[in-house]
């Protein structure tokens, strides 16, 4: 089950990053908005399963919401390169990021499908 878990971890990360990038694009013309990105966190042994821990997604948050999604990465703010209104989103860059996410996601799903294929061969069922 190791591979499937690793793939799921990566997939979770990609989905979360997609959300962050979508947020960046939505906020591309919001004054004083700093672009955000996620850094991938290598999978650590999370045998306990879901971690119910409040995550603050905004500087003004107290506690934040509790989520049972696995912690796959940290959200970092991209400082520098701000325009006059304090916005640091470069839409072209975000679209490239999104393309990268999409490609990686395709890779993960392909890998998973071939993984399932192997399992099917092992139990001898027709494909």
């Amino acid at each position: 089950m190791g591979l499937a878990a690793a793939l799921a971890h990566r997939q979770d990360f990609l989905i979360q990053r997609q959300g962050v990038v979508a947020g960046n694009i939505a906020n591309a013309s919001t004054p004083n908005y700093l672009a955000k990105d996620m850094t991938f966190k290598a999978m650590v042994n999370q045998a306990s399963g879901s971690t119910l821990r409040p995550s603050a997604t905004h500087a003004k948050h107290i506690g934040g919401q509790t989520s049972n999604t696995r912690n796959t990465g940290d959200v970092v703010e991209i400082k520098g390169g701000q325009t006059l209104n304090g916005n640091s989103v470069v839409v072209e860059e975000e679209l490239l990021k999104m393309n990268d996410i999409n490609l990686n996601y395709g890779l993960i799903t392909q890998l998973f499908q071939s993984h399932v294929g192997f399992q099917k061969i092992a139990i001898g069922s027709p494909r």
Partner: protein, 156 residues
């Protein structure tokens, strides 16, 4: 035969990564908020351009350029940064345009007519930007949708 098929199906279900589809839906929601805000802005710029030649009437005020205030709003459910067009304010800093036209029935004693403070050129530039942003959000929705489809196809 049937048994192996059912067995393989159960196997697929059991090792299928526990993807939370709500996250992708969150990305879709964020993009949708962008679409909403940008289309409202587009509408506002269109209004400005339409009123670029409005003049000061005796009883009323001349049209003042409208400006959108966009703010980031964190969606409590998804934890993602959404955007919302908080309010639309009138531009009271830019002076209204004064044009000399003594024959106009609405001209004042000095023969001046007061026009709105809209600059059509900047309005159309802003409008183009808003429409580009709209397209970018559309693209984001497209990608999220594709990812969602791929997730569903993993079951095949």
């Amino acid at each position: 035969m049937v048994q192996t098929f059912i067995l393989s199906f159960i196997l697929v279900l059991s090792i299928l990564p526990q993807v939370s589809a709500t996250d992708l839906r969150g990305a879709l929601e964020a993009s949708a908020s962008g679409l909403r805000a940008q289309s409202a802005r587009l509408k506002m710029h269109a209004e400005n351009i339409a009123n670029a030649d409005s003049i000061l009437t005796e009883d009323g005020e001349a049209y003042r350029k409208k400006q959108a205030i966009m703010v980031t709003k964190v969606n409590r459910k998804t934890g993602l940064n959404e955007v919302v067009l908080e309010r639309i304010v009138e531009d009271t800093r830019t002076p209204l345009k004064q044009i000399y036209d003594p024959n106009h029935p609405l001209a004042d004693d000095n023969g001046m007519l007061t026009y709105s403070n809209v600059t059509t050129l900047t309005e159309s530039a802003d409008m183009r930007r808003a429409s580009r942003m709209y397209e970018a959000n559309m693209q984001a929705i497209e990608v999220s949708k594709e990812m969602l489809t791929r997730t569903v196809q993993m079951l095949r």
